[in-house]
Symmetry: C2
Subunit: 282 residues, 2 copies
């Protein structure tokens, strides 16, 4: 930029950069797994950046976390036992603990420093990590699911991009093990990158999912701070259809405080633009 301001340049691709003006660089460290930065920005509030990629912003994190969490939670009729893979910031945990059906949530985060940073700098995000139903496990989720069969009603994969630590979470083996660790009527949802800027990653992931799960769908949401503003989510299921099995009664009877997700959004997010349907055979 041309002035003397401090800007954080989030690289969308080799050719596109989103630059956000920074008030203050609050924290920076290099953990065993990744570079972790906390920045205070004018437009997006506080920002958590992992390896120079925007991971969470205070301004729009609710969109991502609500959509990744409530779509499966309001499709399964009684989600009691949930595994969250990644998501050490606590955003998914905050959303799923809003559901009274939840009995136990296991958060499997490989990098303890992400949890520490979130607890220190993002209290709004991490506030439910202390919920008595939540177990924090610092390990590689890919290992954890190998030794657990038929126990999770829902698995939520809140991974980083498929480079470095996140790569294993985009593999066929991982999806096979997830399938086995789900109950017979279990659901897996995962963030699945931008269908606009990362079509190759998206294609590969959906091809893998289709090899493993009988029901594979994509849903999408607006994410202003993420690449292209279009974010996709992978819905995989052993039994439940996300539209036909939407739990309307539970949704209406137990209003939860949400800012993006609602019953109409639940359904409409599965309506895909024609170019996405065509490109990914959906």
């Amino acid at each position: 930029m041309t002035d003397n301001s401090d800007w954080f340049n989030a690289k969308y691709s080799e050719h596109v950069v989103l630059s956000i003006r920074i008030k203050e660089r609050i924290f920076s460290t290099k953990s065993k797994y990744q570079k972790i930065e906390v920045l205070d920005s004018f437009e997006f509030g506080k920002v958590l950046a992992l390896d120079d990629v925007i991971n969470v912003t205070e301004r729009d994190e609710f969109i991502y976390h609500e959509m990744l969490s409530h779509v499966p939670m309001f499709t399964h009729p009684s989600p009691g036992n949930v595994l969250v893979v990644g998501g050490g910031d606590g955003g998914v945990i905050r959303e799923i603990t809003k559901h009274s059906s939840l009995k136990r949530a296991c958060l499997s985060e490989i990098d303890p420093e992400v949890v520490g940073v979130s607890e220190k700098y993002f209290p709004e995000l991490s506030r439910s990590l202390g919920d008595p139903r939540v177990d924090l496990v610092f390990n590689n989720a890919a290992d954890l699911i190998k030794s657990n069969q038929n126990i999770f009603d829902i698995i939520i994969v809140d991974s980083t991009d498929p480079i470095g630590a996140g790569e294993e979470l985009f593999s066929l083996d991982f999806y096979k093990n997830c399938f086995r660790s789900l109950t017979h009527r279990g659901i897996l949802c995962a963030q699945s990158e931008s269908p606009f800027f990362d079509p190759d990653i998206v294609s590969r992931l959906y091809d893998i999912a289709r090899q493993v799960f009988p029901i594979v769908r994509m849903y999408i949401a607006f994410m202003p701070s993420y690449v292209s503003g279009i974010w996709s989510f992978l819905y995989c299921s052993r039994h439940y259809d996300p539209i036909n099995n939407f739990q309307a009664v539970r949704y209406n009877e137990t209003p939860l405080k949400m800012n993006y997700y609602n019953d109409e959004i639940h359904k409409s997010s599965f309506a895909l633009p024609s170019f996405i349907k065509k490109q990914f055979d959906l």
Copy 2:
């Protein structure tokens, strides 16, 4: 940026800039109304920039033009006479001329140089401007509608942002005159900016529309090259409801070539995230 590449910096706000890497700056001029530039970019193909704002990119213009055009065209049962306000690039004209019901389209563009630039550099966008049903009128649309009453089935407002030449198109007087120039069952659709980055503009526009039209709705679409990636469109109508009056039979019987819009998108684009419903009282 830090390398020697040429970048075009599209300012989203004082604090957010989308930078796209440029292969070549093809054309630049200053018309009576605005600065007009044509750039060739790596990620978005050719870009038309008006007053330093991205107006059209080859990569994603189909989204904006399809959504602005086909939502009203597939709600009105027989759209014969259509006024397009602005839109000198020809994108809306290309979409509405796909409909065989169309008898006459009037394109009212204030700046002849936009049409010339589009015809020269964006043949895919401007290719239907020569359709025999299309009249090009180089004038101020705000004046044109004052002298036309009860004649248009649909008015499509493809304006620039509400600064400079585009400002009058966001006024109460303009909406009152549009109302009068529509038939008794007429529909007006307008681009209505980003609900995420421009909430004040959006609020003001919807307040104006509600003073004039009995039916006022918002619909949204993903626009990767526009501010925030979320773009909103204003649907105003004297009679038809965009969901209940969707022309399913005509949609199914006359398949048109489209890349974003489809019957599911028509309906789902009116399902709004909770924060948008709340903020704009929708």
